[in-house]
């Protein structure tokens, strides 16, 4: 299982889903990817079939929810979901009773959360690696 874990952790392709709202978290993530940091091997893709992890940022309304579920269904196993930013973790200020916004947890099984309104770049990358590790362990335990 460690062979699977090592390879999985060293090559992560992420599908960044900016579900709505201000794209501060998505910009923060792309900044984190390009600046000097010790976490390597992460690349961004636009095709769900090539993705290992789904990074959901921003508020999720009804329309985004259907599109995200379609993407998630096309991703091959093992796959991880990361909720980045206050909007996708808890809906932050915008979530009120009448404007039925969803959190990522309502629609997908989440592996890692990154709280805070525009969270820190490095924290985001660490959360991604944590999520991939969790999904690979789930895969490993499924195989044994």
């Amino acid at each position: 299982m460690s062979w699977l874990l090592n390879n999985g952790l060293r090559s992560i392709s992420i599908l960044v889903v900016q579900a709505g709202g201000c794209r501060g978290c998505a910009l923060q993530f792309s900044m984190g990817m390009s600046l000097e940091n010790e976490i390597k091997g992460i690349s961004v893709t636009g095709n769900p079939k090539h993705a290992d992890a789904l990074l959901v940022t921003g508020c999720i309304n009804e329309k985004s929810r259907e599109a995200i579920l379609q993407l998630y269904e096309q991703m091959p196993e093992p796959k991880a979901v990361i909720a980045a930013g206050a909007c996708s973790c808890s809906g932050s200020l915008f979530r009120t009773s009448e404007n039925n916004l969803y959190t990522t947890e309502d629609i997908l099984p989440v592996d890692a959360w990154i709280r805070g309104c525009t969270p820190d770049m490095h924290e985001m990358l660490e959360a991604v690696v944590r999520a991939i590790g969790a999904s690979l362990e789930k895969e490993g335990s499924r195989k044994i």
């Binding site: 390879n7 060293r10 990817m33 000097e36 091997g41 893709t45 636009g46 091959p76 093992p78």
Partner: protein
């Protein structure tokens, strides 16, 4: 037989190593995504660990057949068979990759397959005319005899433009510099990973291997033109290819129709001029 097996393994190793070096040097530059030295290898291993691909795309079975034809092409190149026969295997490989992405219900896959057909026409025409001029000069079509001929006489003196035309074909197949049809989607473009959109998991891994093997075949085929020893001319060409890979990031991506016209003018034009030149002088 042993020598051809050694060549087979050497090429199977050298091409991925070229891509590793390119990926590593690019990630060292400021502003790029950071990556490990063996990043492409990790990606390949990860892909083979995947399962549960979407079931309504049966086309990813075609990646097996295309990989088979690519390995056959490499095997025949290494044994020095007839170059038209090698090209036939590459045509069959191309057919099944295009069929895979055309069959999937994804419009970008079909669009990339359409561009792939135009690219096929340009590469095939350039190759056929260069093969004809090679035949005029060396009197044979089998790679082994050509190697022997080019070792004694300077092929480049007689076929300079054919050599450049084949370099253009190599660039087209590698989607590099000005001849990138935006099909294999290395740089971010609207078609995402274009031709490989429907493939995922292990079939994507196999198509990646097929691509590397194909580049290996072209490098070995083109190294016939260089007058030095086979292994030396192959290494020189491999280093040239690495240089092309590294400069690729600095060249703006033109529209594929303009690229197709340029490729046909440059590739086809040079090989035709060389062919006519052989007859006049």
């Amino acid at each position: 037989m042993l020598q051809s097996l050694i060549w087979f393994l050497v090429i199977m190793i050298v091409v991925p190593v070229l891509y590793l070096i390119e990926n590593f040097i690019r990630s060292m530059m400021p502003g790029y995504n950071k990556s490990y030295l063996l990043q492409p290898i990790y990606r390949l291993m990860k892909l083979f660990g995947k399962r549960g691909m979407k079931t309504n795309d049966p086309a990813h079975w075609f990646s097996i057949v295309s990989c088979w034809f690519a390995i056959c092409a490499l095997f025949f190149t290494v044994r020095g068979e007839n170059i038209l026969f090698i090209f036939t295997s590459l045509v069959m490989m191309e057919l099944f990759i295009l069929a895979g992405s055309w069959n999937a219900r994804e419009p970008f896959g079909s669009m990339a397959a359409q561009r792939g057909i135009a690219r096929f026409f340009i590469c095939a025409f350039t190759f056929m005319v260069s093969a004809a001029s090679l035949y005029q000069v060396t009197g044979t079509l089998s790679l082994k005899e050509m190697m022997a001929y080019s070792w004694m006489h300077y092929l480049l003196l007689k076929l300079p433009l054919a050599f450049l035309a084949m370099i253009v074909v190599l660039l087209i197949r590698g989607s590099l510099l000005f001849f990138d049809f935006n099909i294999t989607g290395k740089a971010l473009n609207i078609l995402d990973s274009a031709l490989y959109t429907p493939y995922s998991g292990w079939s994507l891994g196999i198509t990646q291997i097929t691509r590397w093997v194909e580049i290996g075949v072209w490098l070995k085929l083109i190294s016939v033109f260089l007058p030095w020893k086979p292994w030396f001319s192959f290494t020189v060409l491999a280093i040239c290819y690495l240089a092309f890979l590294l400069t690729d990031g600095f060249i703006p991506k033109a529209r594929w129709k303009k690229v197709a016209r340029n490729a046909f003018l440059w590739g086809g034009g040079m090989s035709v001029m060389n062919f006519i030149w052989l007859y006049l002088f």
